[in-house]
Symmetry: C2
Subunit: 445 residues, 2 copies
């Protein structure tokens, strides 16, 4: 692992070379490296927390000067209750995951003695750009090693001391393993991000871990594929047959359980015929949780009759394109399922959207027609999460239309290659005509 | 389907809207549309061939003036023996393929009454940019409709008349089906490619069908993912234990069966210890087929002793980075498997590479360590092809490291979405602590 002196290109080249070695290591060697990283961090706890304290000191000063937000300072603190332990446990959790490398996903007998196999393999070199949270380094290094990928890490400048301390330990730990040291590359020089984003010959996938702004910046400034989503504008369609109590609890969970999350609800579409039947209980429950409703004319007028004591504001068109990330909810009346689907497909961010209805038919139609990574029937949008899906880990959530979509587990860090094992076969021996052979194309798996 | 008047943005928006309808149609509706396209083209044969004749006339004139290559003129000719019939048969072949939409690839019981499903679905809007061959329109339109994707087609200007005639027929045919007319968008205005490549909000995947230059241009000028490969620099490593006769026939097939193909052999790496044992028979066979060998010092010196009658030229370093696409082969001596692997990973294009050896151990090591879409043991590199792999069709060959790699069938035009069917579950009900539920994460599929 190189430290501050590494140029972007050197780091990328070294990572690429290391990725070729890493790709050939058995699971045991990759798991042993994770154990070594765990042991190393465990032993170096005091040293790392001391480095982290220095970062914190500077950050607190910056916050006092109004140059940094309090929430960033808080995210920086590795000494916070449970954080260190969670970081270490995360490494062991990743180690225990099923090996994603070398899975045969297709096997076809092209002809006798000529077999085709599709086998999972690492993508190559990952570039992970993250902001304040220093524990992400350990998490991402573990995921990379487990999946056989090399990784280039670029952290936020606020966590530089913690970052350097942790990566020194990881580097020393890898020295004793079969995983090449260059497999985890650290870049700490400033302003290196544009250079890294330009290296599409050496870097195969960028994973931003941070704010929407970071993701948006990266997506706009690289040709390398980016795994992530810049926006999470999730909607729920409340259909007339939905049970009011169920609807209220699902919508409250979707909106209020963690309003700043990307899978939180931002727009509620209410079927016109549900305005005076199901919607009142929902509005009441949201209001009780402190949610501000921004309503269109029809829903506002209806609420003024059914829930006269509620105060709601009038929505503007821009509210239906806004990711509030707070206790504000845009409400819009739609006449039909079709209108709801069209609204979501044109206004949403293709992240996660739900329908609340007693009708299986309406639900299935909604789930087929809404063009989003997650489409739910009678469940909170906040289930969109790798841990909740049972993936054991989450690399990120993607709204891409290729490769990986929705919560991404280790699988998202894998691609495949085709192997053919033959006995000297030539393509000119196959085809039509005298003496030519025909392909068998017998599917073995 | 819009004709010449459609702007790039209009076409993309209309295609996106159509894609949302198309995604909900059952296989029967998509297959019926293919039947309608087939019938329409069948009926309009004379009209289309007349349009094609007008294109041909202009092209022949341009060729006579030295402005167009003869091979392009030849590719343009739809009236060439078998071409029309192949084009029509291709539509029916695609129709008969297994439906790629709606396959459940994962099913997990998150909790009782809360099931997660991962289901294949179309990607959305494809942009297909192709050069002269007008029959590609029918092929691509079929693949798009079959896979539930909308497509924007941009053909080369030399085939404009054929292109307009064919797409008029497709458009009229779709009118009678459930597939929205906007699902296949034709763009014929000139200079529209840069505008299209800019529409990453509406277009999900670009598929270039044409020269390496076209692919390279597109890859360098868009943020939209591109399915394809700009180069096919394939290598074979000839190991000392390979049977000389087998080696000669595989190398001759890889190099000479279709030298202009992307999966043809360009570099032969010979193990030093094989120079005087296996290599002479190989060199002899290649020479007999008219292949020019560009040899490094060691292989040249060896051949001057073993095959004194052969004329070979001396290689330059640049020959090992050249895709000759002709009967020229670069030959390099390497000391070991490791050196061969490193040469291929650093000089090749990650397309298809092979090892010829009697050693299973060497072969498996080669196939794991070479970072290419296809890695073969004792088989011709020219097996890298969707039809030969048994995919029934080939959308393209990809050297990307995400989504699709190697020959790509219909699967490469698919992504997935996650569906959750619940009964009003909320995320706050799960977790640790009193009264909280635990996820079951029971894998059902």
């Amino acid at each position: 692992m190189s430290l501050t002196t590494a140029s972007a290109l050197d780091a990328a080249k070294e990572a690429k070379a290391a990725s070729h070695v890493l790709a050939t290591l058995p699971a045991s060697a990759r798991n042993d490296a994770l154990t070594a990283i765990y042991d190393g961090l465990n032993t170096a706890k005091d040293e790392i927390l001391a480095a982290n304290a220095r970062d914190l000191e500077l950050a607190k000063q910056a916050a006092a000067d109004g140059k940094l937000s309090q929430s960033l300072v808080s995210r920086l603190d590795l000494g916070k209750k449970g954080k260190w332990e969670d970081m270490l446990k995360g490494i062991l959790d990743v180690r225990e995951l099923e090996d994603p490398v070398g899975k045969v996903t297709l096997r076809t007998r092209l002809d006798d003695g000529l077999d085709l196999e599709r086998v999972t393999c690492p993508i190559g070199v990952l570039l992970i750009i993250f902001e304040a949270r220093p524990e992400v380094i350990a998490n991402i290094a573990s995921l990379a090693v487990k999946s056989g990928n090399a990784a280039i890490l670029k952290g936020g400048k606020e966590s530089t001391e913690s970052f350097v301390a942790i990566s020194r330990v990881i580097s020393a730990a890898l020295e004793k393993t079969q995983v090449p040291n260059g497999a985890i590359q650290l870049v700490t020089t400033r302003d290196v991000i544009p250079q890294l984003l330009d290296l599409d010959q050496h870097i195969d996938l960028v994973i931003p871990r941070g704010s929407n702004e970071l993701v948006r910046y990266i997506k706009s400034n690289t040709k390398i594929p980016v795994l992530g989503h810049a926006d999470g504008l999730c909607s729920i369609y409340l259909e007339e047959s939905a049970d009011p109590k169920m609807a209220a609890q699902v919508i409250v969970d979707s909106k209020t359980s963690y309003p700043a999350a990307c899978n939180s609800l931002e727009t509620l579409l209410v079927q016109e015929s549900a305005l005076s039947t199901v919607f009142p209980a929902v509005a009441e429950a949201l209001s009780a949780k402190g949610v501000e409703l921004r309503c269109d004319e029809a829903s506002k007028a209806s609420l003024s009759k059914t829930n006269p004591s509620l105060t709601v504001t009038s929505s503007q068109e821009s509210d239906y394109a806004t990711e509030f990330l707070s206790l504000t909810l845009a409400v819009k009346t739609v006449s039909s399922l079709q209108e709801a689907i069209e609204h979501i497909n044109s206004h949403g961010s293709h992240h996660t959207d739900a329908i609340l209805t007693a009708s299986k038919e309406q639900a299935e139609m909604f789930m087929n027609a809404v063009d989003s990574a997650g489409v739910y029937w009678n469940a909170s949008t906040r289930f969109a999460d790798g841990m909740r899906y049972g993936f054991g880990t989450e690399v990120g959530i993607s709204t891409n239309k290729i490769h990986s979509r929705g919560p991404v587990g280790l699988e998202g860090l894998m691609i495949y290659k085709y192997k053919i094992r033959g006995g000297g076969q030539c393509t000119l021996s196959y085809g039509e005509g005298e003496g030519k052979r025909a392909y068998k194309h017998e599917r073995l798996l």
